[in-house]
Symmetry: D2
Subunit: 355 residues, 4 copies
């Protein structure tokens, strides 16, 4: 695809942590061309390089994007964009995203506001790409022909759902107890004050346990022309914040309907593939899941960048004396679990002819 043929896209909430990741991931994308950036009133009217004063990525702002003038998050400033990615704060995301949808744009949102709307799919791209097939029903319900909304899941839900999908497909999932150790980047910027996390762990993240106990049920659930039906299983979550920059680690105990051996669980993990891989999407990782057999893995610093942040690393599958198996999983919270997930969702939509 030559530059001129790329699909023009915008980013809402472009100066925040998730917005920065969108910018970074879109800098050189083969299908999408970033042409518009939206942020708060304070940033609007400045070139992005001046507006993104809190840029905290390990690469510099791409020069072709740094000069884009930041605009308010209103559809008229996103002329020519077929779709927008939203990294907006949930305090404003709901209405803004609806406005962009009504204006005819596809919205791929990382915010929680529309996740439970009747016809809005909640998609982890390596898990439930088929949920995008509800979009025609969504458009019909809204009386729209081009605009629609797709949401991706909360960062800790995203990582969790990938191995749960494998377990459910292969052995039937009954219950999951999960304790998370989540990276500070998940809290945005400025996010967690350093005095709270140096030599410390904070055993609480507002609203997080609730999301983690609900979202995977919709993601692993089914849908028809009337909307979504949750998968029937139970999750109980303990969420903690730890002194890690990127990468959410989660300890799981799972109860299954079947009675596989440890080896069978590991084999199921290793052999899992998803549609995004078969479609050959630009962001699809070589492996959805890497199983690391070392006894002390996965670890955030060593494993978060597996598959450029799109691969979930699983380790330590072993019997649980209360449930069936214990395992530890690691996912990149701002790539697969946020901006990258939304981006791959857009790639899926493009492949499926929705754009």
């Amino acid at each position: 695809m030559t530059e001129g043929q790329k699909i023009k896209v915008g980013v809402l909430g472009a100066t925040g942590m998730v917005g920065q990741r969108f910018v970074q991931l879109l800098a050189d994308h083969p299908w999408f061309e970033l042409t518009a950036l939206g942020a708060s009133e304070r940033s609007a009217g400045k070139p992005y390089v001046k507006a993104a004063v809190n840029w905290r990525q390990t690469s510099e702002i791409p020069s072709n994007i740094g000069s884009i003038m930041v605009s308010p998050c209103e559809p008229q400033h996103f002329d020519g964009c077929r779709l927008v990615f939203s990294g907006l704060d949930s305090s404003v995301a709901g209405e803004v995203e609806t406005a962009f949808c009504k204006a005819g744009m596809a919205v791929f949102s990382n915010s929680r506001n529309h996740r439970y709307d009747q016809y809005v799919p909640l998609v982890v791209p390596t898990v439930n790409d088929d949920h995008l097939d509800i979009i025609p029903a969504q458009q019909k319900a809204n009386g729209l022909t081009t605009g629609f909304i797709v949401t991706n899941a909360n960062c800790s839900s995203t990582g969790l759902t990938v191995p749960l999908k494998v377990l459910d497909d292969a052995f039937g999932l009954e219950a999951c107890m999960v304790t998370t150790m989540q990276a500070i980047s998940g809290a945005g910027f400025p996010g967690v004050p350093s005095i709270d996390i140096i030599d410390n762990v904070v055993p609480y993240i507002s609203g997080e346990e609730e999301k983690l106990e609900i979202e995977p049920k919709k993601i692993l659930g089914s849908f028809d022309q009337n909307g979504f039906t949750d998968k029937d299983f139970k999750i109980s979550a303990h969420c903690n914040r730890v002194a890690v920059s990127d990468g959410h680690l989660e300890c799981l105990s799972v109860k299954l309907k079947g009675s596989p051996t440890t080896e069978e669980v590991i084999t199921a993990m290793e052999s899992y593939t998803c549609e995004a891989q078969r479609m050959g999407l630009p962001s699809a990782p070589k492996q959805c899941i890497v199983y690391n057999e070392k006894p002390d893995r996965p670890q955030p610093r060593l494993d978060r960048d597996a598959g450029k942040g799109y691969t979930v690393t699983v380790g330590r599958v072993r019997p649980c004396s209360l449930f069936d198996f214990k395992l530890t999983i690691l996912s990149h919270n701002t790539i697969l679990g946020a901006a990258g997930g939304a981006l791959m969702n857009a790639e899926l939509a493009k492949y499926k002819g929705l754009l």
Copy 2:
């Protein structure tokens, strides 16, 4: 008690991390006078201030102890000591402690070697002080009149057992799922390499999950003249190492026989008292458990020093969708969970007339 009347005590493994804590806690103890220090061949023959090259406590070596000459860990060098505290590595603790016991000394050991001996009590001082009453049977079995061995539990087991005791006493305990986030000081010195823990979590501690799944059953169990009987309940553990200097945080989901309200669980925690308090032991904390009602507590940096490190802080009691309740607990791993626990065990033994 005047200085001359204090009970003379020694420390085995005095240069290690646990040994250093023993030295610090014994520096000014009202009942015990530290007169002998044992360590490896390499350290023997030097004054403690020279031998303890890896001293890592936040107070300097007490001057009256710095000048004590370090000796090998052999009973003949501990002349006059009624008891010894052992912070020895488990690779040598078994035989050395037996030798001191046979030589007529009471041994209060932090090592795992004798924890499952038939007549050796495994004591968390604020939980099962009554297990010390097996000592006469132990002495009889060993043909000894003054020597005996008392062990304290693994650091993560110790913190866990205090609230489990409360729950079991009040409501009957059926099962506990626990995920730990453990401090690096628990690994001794040099312990965890810094490159493994900066911006990272290590989801594995060798042998730790096994200890955590077994020890609480002996501690909460019963005994008679033939030894100990485990309490009948199940534990499943996930153990992680985090970038925290001191203080083990543990996320629990518990299944109870009774059906208390959240408020009743909290009240049970807050009203728990132990014998060590009633006896007025020097190290007994004002409260065995502090319940912190803030939503984001307990936290290692803020709560580990509660009760000078002898109090367990509990927080976040709330319903669990899979079991009955979720809660978060925090204990000081090198005070209550190691040297301080052994010290309070010795105070209990003294009070009970065993010394």
Copy 3:
């Protein structure tokens, strides 16, 4: 002194990080009784335990203080207070402190606003207590009989000034090159975002190098009835923020007029004493400076609490190939370098009959 005879004091900015330290240090002070707490409009009208939502100290809010009702920072709400300690932000400190002074109260301020007023002393309590003797001239100039203002220095200046005082007294100081590694608590709350400091160093603190290059000259300077005269020497500073909770480490290269040996420099450090010690003030440390001869000290985690946070630890005195000596120093930035320094200044003022 019985409770009723204690001097009544208030704290301005009581909910901030420095304010919290004031509360902690005043909880059980033998001379001062904390009776009034001032904070912003948002906090006013609530008991302190509710207002101090960001309490981040390792001890809980003292119960007798938690119930004090927080008031706005206006003199009429501090009835009966002979003096106030100010931990106010510099955006508001200037006018508020002036108002309290005019209302007849002594103000001991940690803020920078009045540090360079003609008659306001800038006092590091273990260095230049004699500067308090300008107070009568200040009162005369302001037409006041009881109100006056005393400031303490910036946290990094404070630690630096103690060894510089020793060097200047003993050998004559010509120049000092200093690089700081400063703790995050120095930035207040929420202060440094955690994403900026995990696995990182920030080589910049706004306005800090300027303060560090100027304040020591006033502190080590002289005064007469017309005000203060700076000491004549040069400082060049590099300031960095590191992932440390408390304790500022500073690497110094100093140029002296005299030519002492390394041993003479160390002896001068070790033998330094101050008036606060001779007066027997409640907060005066046993030693103003501890010299630690180990090659890798001082260290923040191990040395910050020396002398309960009022002692400066010095180490690594060695020749400098460019200047005369290199040395490393460590001071507690929120005790000696902030709230504790102001408190000891008030003790000095009381001893000198100024209160």
Copy 4:
């Protein structure tokens, strides 16, 4: 160059931290093919994937290298290798490297042992590539025709020398005061115990200040057929270890012969280029130095990967009240400052026809 035409190379000390970096950087090198791996007796005889139990890189062991059998560090096991990279510990590097040299191989060493040999160049590849021209003289002196030794500098010296080269070339360098904040990866594995660095700074690295005060003089110096002559200027160094995984930060005050403006210094930094760039070497970065104009840069986490770890980031150039200028620099200590530096030195040697 096709696979068969690549130059065969080996790595000595392949399981250590620097050795791991060599393996990672050589995995897919266009000129060099890694065919032999040497390590200690303990590792010899195992495939690398089993021997490298302490692998701590963020990418997995390349599969084509994981199966190479590790051999002892003796020349006969490196048959066919034209050169070896040495990441050996200095306790053994001296003799081993000499043996490989005598056996006819070129040795590119990261160890300090041969850095001051009369004819051995000490090369920072973006600074003094011309020092490689002494190799014929070295070979002649040793009676060798193919074997020779090239060393690269200590990690903190490397980063420092790049901007010093610029300053000396443009303005004449007289003196440099430097304070380092060095990453833990520089200490190898296990290296710094975590308890020493969490919530802490260690103001000492054994032997480091000595190296930092001497090495830049040889690197910036000249040579003739009799060996090297140090550049005439003075350095005074303070070295500290901080809680950073990779990336050495250094605060410099420099005294110059000329009197440039701040802008001229910055321009000199930005316009600096080196031979490695002009040669188009595979590892040469686009820029030797990036000047970051933001007030709080460079920072280790954000800037260490600039130029894939081969670019030095400079910031905060400003006047110094004691010397002429202050500035802050950041370099990647295990890429440019260790394995990457040695690799680029080998590329230089290849380009110059020495291999």
